[in-house]
Amino acid sequence: MSIKTEAIGKEWPATTYEVGKEKVGEYARVIGLDNPVYFDREAAKAAGYRDVVAPPMFCVVYSAPALAPAMFDPEVGMNFAAMVHGGQEFEWGEPACSGDEITTVAKCLEIFEKDGKGFYVFETRSTNQNGDEVVKGTWTNIVRGV
């Protein structure tokens, strides 16, 4: 067993994503969501949102770019050919709305070996322009045969 663990605790540079109304609508249509709060500004405001609101799982759109450099970091050293996305958790806070500028920081939480597999666990924390936490993500990648 020779899994590298020196990247545990490492953080990567923040990325910023501006949420756009049409991008939210595009995502909502693909998932089959039809609540007008995802498409119509007035409907969103009537429901108490500042603007068209993003579906919860739209968080992957604005948080994944922060994770990309972590996944490809040689210090992490994941073998992509044998990697699967094993698990995912999100905890949502303030809703993300069109016009929000969301900043995400990725961190390596854990790297460990179990049953011949490597587990690589990353955290992303996304905050909006007011400093409110929008979502916290925990991403688990599993690499066979480490």
């Binding site: 995502y27 693909v30 998932i31 039809d34 609101v53 992957v60 759109v61 996305h85 698990g87 958790e89």
Partner: protein
């Protein structure tokens, strides 16, 4: 709004993604991994064909959870899933679940997404504020 008790089943969500759904999800999400959109690439890396994005199926699990709260996005507070089987386009996905706990206005739902006997997402836990 549904009055839910421990052990209750939630309404099933049934969706059959068409052949090009992974292309549209790739565009919407920015995840253009070729295993989802290029049959030749998928077969070259040992897959039977292109496979669905796991996060697309997680999106359907999130949809079934928010449906419990009148489709209000802010009702979903937490969602945790394990990806197990691979999902295929042009095959019906059934998202089903049961109420695991109720605490005031917050319910925790145990959810599974499956294509026939193939459970693509299991041990999914959704915390929803009704």
């Amino acid at each position: 709004m549904a009055d839910l008790n421990v052990g209750d089943s939630i309404p099933e969500l049934r969706v059959t993604p068409d052949k090009y759904l992974p292309h549209r999800y790739a565009g919407a999400s920015g995840d253009f991994n070729p295993i989802h959109i290029d049959p030749e690439f998928a077969k070259a890396v040992g897959l039977p064909n292109t496979i669905l994005h796991g996060l697309y199926m997680m999106g359907l699990v999130a949809r079934s959870a928010t449906d419990l709260a009148g489709s209000d996005p802010k009702a979903l507070k937490r969602l945790s899933v394990q990806f197990r089987g691979m999902g295929a386009p042009e095959t019906e996905i059934v998202v089903s679940g049961t109420v695991k706990s109720v605490d005031g206005d917050t319910v925790v739902i145990d959810t599974v997404a499956a294509q026939g006997d193939n459970q693509t997402i299991r041990n999914a836990e959704a915390e929803v504020r009704l």
